[in-house]
């Protein structure tokens, strides 16, 4: 198990290899479709992503009786929809860790290598476990405009686990698996 603690430094992130299991603690922002589009359109989402993590996630968040936010479910959403936006986001924001599911395309893989970042695969559907890793909701942006599932939440997480699926050295586990599966498929046809 590799350990990452906020602020996530470039040299620590570059030391990670595809296939490593990683435990992440520190600042994590959620951002999915509306967030990426807004960022690309230049109507900036004002927060400091430098050396933090961005999580493709639409959580279930409720207000408790005391008026505090409580995260009930926070699993990953499919990342491919953000392919058009992610390379520019990585370059402009200084984010070090992208977390999601299903992987991203070669443009993102190239941006990870150029900027010193990794893509971590969270387990799809494991929403209760990831909600438990959220120790504090430190803020939310664009809640009214985007809705709770699409808003940019700032979470402080402890021992959030995933698998490095795309590293900063041009290696993607998804590509390896797809190539192997295609060969196996051809034998069955």
């Amino acid at each position: 198990m590799k350990i990452l603690r906020y602020p996530f430094r470039e040299k620590d992130v570059r030391a990670l290899r595809a296939g490593d299991e990683v435990s992440i603690s520190g600042v994590l922002f959620t951002g999915r479709d509306k967030f990426h589009k807004a960022f690309a359109d230049g109507c900036g989402v004002e927060c400091d992503f430098r050396d933090a993590a961005l999580y493709h996630c639409g959580p279930v968040v409720v207000r408790t009786g005391g008026g505090e936010w409580k995260v009930l479910a926070a699993g990953p959403t499919t990342s491919v929809r953000e392919n058009p936006y992610e390379p520019a986001f990585i370059a402009a924001s200084g984010v070090r860790v992208i977390i999601g599911k299903g992987g991203m395309d070669s443009r993102t893989l190239e941006a990870l290598a150029r900027c010193g970042a990794v893509y971590v695969q969270a387990t799809g559907g494991a929403a209760a476990l990831y909600a438990k890793a959220v120790k504090r909701v430190a803020g939310v942006m664009r809640l009214e405009e985007f809705g709770a599932a699409e808003a940019c939440w700032r979470f402080e997480v402890e021992d959030f686990r995933g698998i490095v699926a795309m590293d900063s050295h041009g290696r993607s586990l998804f590509d390896t698996v797809r190539i192997g599966a295609k060969k196996a498929l051809d034998r069955l046809f």
Binding site: G102, F174, F189
Partner: protein, 291 residues
Amino acid sequence: MRKKEIIETLAALVAETSSKLPDDVAGALRRAKRREEPGSPAAAVLATILGNCSLAAKNTTPLCQDTGTLTFFVSSSLRRIVTREAVEDAVALATERGALRRNCIDSVTGVSRDANSGGGFPVVHYTDDGFPAGEGDVALLLKGGGSENMSRQYSLPDETLGAGRDLDGVRRCVLDAAFKAQGFGCAPGILGVAVGGDRALGYETAKLQLLRPVGSRSPDRALAAMEKRLVEEINSLGIGPMGLGGRTTVLDVKIAGLSRLPASFFVTVAYMCWALRRRSVHIGGGRRAWK
């Protein structure tokens, strides 16, 4: 039961379904974990899934944040008690309590329908299953969008797949669907397949197969053999849990045969993620019982 009790019962059904995996699915996931190489990404993913399910069940919180399309199957004998209005009220109540995400968007305006109702949602089917009036079952299936996006329909013959209008053509379509889904639909998945029908009946029937318990085989011998063969062949592709490689790409494949027109031959594959959430409750004699 009075109206208020019916709404409470249905809201409890939603919360139970959203937070607890059925035993057959959980059992299949535990067996899958034992098959994977210790220390592999596949084993880590399955351990995460199992840990997540225990936690969600213990706290009665959604086991996946995509609480999905809600499809209710109601005995027609309950039609006057379990009305569409009662179902919608229960869904709104369950949403307020955090059992469901606000997950229903007006496709034209882009505005969230915060009570999770309207524009066809939730889906309610009344089925004739022979119960006397006032007594019957309410079953609920929750299916998330990531897996729904991986469902496909083929029209045979399909030259690119070398798929003709026979069972081997069906086999090629299902293999292609599993390959194209990779880990995107949250593998290990459960595939519901319909052979024939018109396009709409194909999708409906394929989805209905997801109500069959994992491990059960079709009563049709040829289809049962094909189900078994496809489980083995898909798992030999090595896509694995969440597409990170491994021995378990599907937990099961279910196939149903339908009639078709001479001109059409559709093969429909409903991809269901590992989080196959289904549950039912029996209502009768003023009481309710979980099934």
